[in-house]
Assembly symmetry: C2
Homo-oligomer: 369 residues x 2
């Protein structure tokens, strides 16, 4: 496999960033289309900038994030984190002890690596379930994670969500919801309640996913548990710094359900444009997806020989899409452990600047490269 | 003790931030004086703001931070981190295994808590030394930290620094230098070489200490080891996000040794103004300091009865200094584990707005409160 270690993945990401930089220098910002749905943004106001000092900034923005954060997620106490992965780590550090078990229910395996990794770090065992009838907790289960929406945007059903909560409540086990994209997808597109309103103790979301905030994590939950998580976060440097908090506040103020709902309807057109060439394109809530297996299958259809494994084919596809067409997808630029699926998110800002036909054309050319 | 747990320390910090916010609302930014030397700043340019998106920002600023970071710290490869504590954790995660020993040499105990905590987290033992003749490594020592300048600005001597490096090199043990304030204090005030130039494998500094950058950590070092640290940082969400990296780049471009050197000479005047009232004021490289023990001693001198322990007296002193005089010091706003010493840093931006006499007067009134 090309990507046989985490360090290779770091190198791959750096290669992609070099391509983006060279596009920026030759064609400017309009030279690429960030269709990851993770483009984020940094919408601070000019008056915010002056306040962004270490001790004055937090005083103002810590209060503001409490207000807008509770509107978005519910809960008693909000904590802004450097990333969603940092928040996962902080909650595991706060709640889980060596020898405990961390259980995880998600609509479809595999999990985002931050959850098993954090469990491993504190010396806890880790088990994950994607079939609700198999989900169970043990006597030493001290924390249960629910993933609201996976990296590939598979969504948990409300029934499964409530069932996991019920099982945990019966044994007094705290439930943390990784609602990275789910806090928007589940509620806006699928009209589910917020995680905390369904009984979760804490919920965390990524402020750059399906909203124009900075890369970062926003957590809310019950007062007592949040105080423990906050303390661990500050001890290990996991909390978001003032500039990120300020941008999260502004992004939450600007949050637009309309754009997400428009992408939800626009995806059919893109799927049709692609279906002329590719039979295995899947719909996601706000776009389309080609899995590594689908890419391998399509290549076999056009009788292209390759020794590469499917994940490496997906990385290669993503790199050509970026280099030749300026289209940024997650396999090219994602962090270690990110999904290798080629996902086009029409809720991304840049989706307004590129049509379904152009995207389909770029996919076609990339395949025959 | 008032502050008998980390959660109390979090509450104390929040109380101080509420006071700062109320000063901001009634008197504006000029209503307080941040003399912590940690005020930091967020000096991004207006053209930077547009680039601050998740994937475009890193492409530009990751390259720029390599250039300016290497000028400041030396080394082959630079990594920007969310905080210096995040960088300490990332290096321990990358290098240390359960059962290993982490040794730490610093000019004066106690250590910043991030080092022993990170060792404990991975299941390593931890030992610290502040007498060079006692420093030693064991067969299972896998990482040695040197603190260049303590939280209270005690500075390591160049001889002791080189001796620790020598002992470690003989046994092939990597050395990481926590040069949070030291990367400026040691080099600019005491004319010592950069940590990496004296043989350290990695060095990390705080971009808000004695420079006008954001709260954050800047690390540099040997290529291979830095790649491992970077990979761990990305896995657990410890790296600095693009807005912080951009502000670090600009702050390093603006770095002014002159301001630090001016504070170095101005401190004598402040010490004299305070010495009329307090006999136990100590000089630091860029200001003065009253330790908790000194505060207790001074209270006894004026025959004030108290049941409080010395650290709590220092917290109380810092809170009154903030509430009545708008002077921010670390015990009021510091993170859990920060030093309880009342330190006035004349290299802080706000020091230009307040004279030695005013500070001395505020100290006097706070004591007789």
């Amino acid at each position: 496999m090309l990507t046989n270690s985490i360090i290779d993945e770091v190198n791959r990401r750096e290669a992609a960033l070099r391509v983006i930089k060279s596009i920026l220098q030759t064609k400017g910002r309009k030279g690429f289309y960030d269709l990851t749905g993770l483009a984020g943004g940094f919408p601070i106001l000019s008056e915010d900038k002056a306040l962004l000092e270490t001790y004055a900034g937090p005083a103002v923005f810590d209060d503001a994030i409490q207000t807008v954060g509770k509107i978005h997620l519910g809960g008693d106490k909000v904590l802004a984190l450097n990333r969603t992965s940092s928040g996962i780590l902080a909650s595991v550090l706060a709640i889980v002890k060596p020898g405990d078990e961390v259980a995880h229910y998600l609509p479809k395996s595999p999990a985002h690596p931050s959850i098993p990794r954090s469990a491993e770090l504190v010396g806890a065992s880790y088990i994950e379930f994607d079939k609700i009838e198999e989900f169970k907790v043990e006597d030493n289960t001290s924390l249960v994670f629910i993933t609201g929406s996976t990296m590939d945007h598979e969504i948990i059903t409300q029934e499964d969500f409530r069932r996991v909560i019920e099982i945990c409540k019966a044994k007094n086990i705290p439930v943390a919801v990784d609602d990275a994209s789910g806090a928007r997808l589940r509620t806006i597109v699928y009209r589910q309640p917020r995680a905390i309103d369904m009984g979760a103790d804490i919920a965390i979301t990524s402020t750059d996913k399906l909203m124009d905030g900075p890369r970062g994590g926003l957590m809310s939950g019950k007062g007592e548990i949040m105080q423990l998580v906050k303390s661990k976060a500050h001890q290990f440097g996991l909390e978001a710094q003032a500039p990120l908090v300020a941008a999260m506040v502004r992004a939450l103020e600007n949050l637009s359900p309309e754009k997400i709902l428009m992408a939800f309807s626009a995806k059919h057109e893109l799927k049709e444009a692609l279906n002329n060439q590719f039979s295995m394109v899947k719909e996601t809530p706000t776009g389309i997806m080609l899995t590594p297996e689908a890419i391998e299958f399509e290549l076999r259809q056009i009788e292209t020989e390759t020794d590469l494994e499917s994940d490496d084919l997906a990385y290669l596809f993503a790199m050509i899409l970026l280099r030749d067409h300026g289209i940024i997808t997650i396999p090219a630029v994602g962090m270690p452990g990110a999904s290798a699926a080629i996902r086009i998110d029409l809720a991304a800002n840049d989706a307004e600047r590129i049509g379904s036909k152009e995207i389909a054309e770029a996919f076609k050319k990339t395949f025959t490269k």
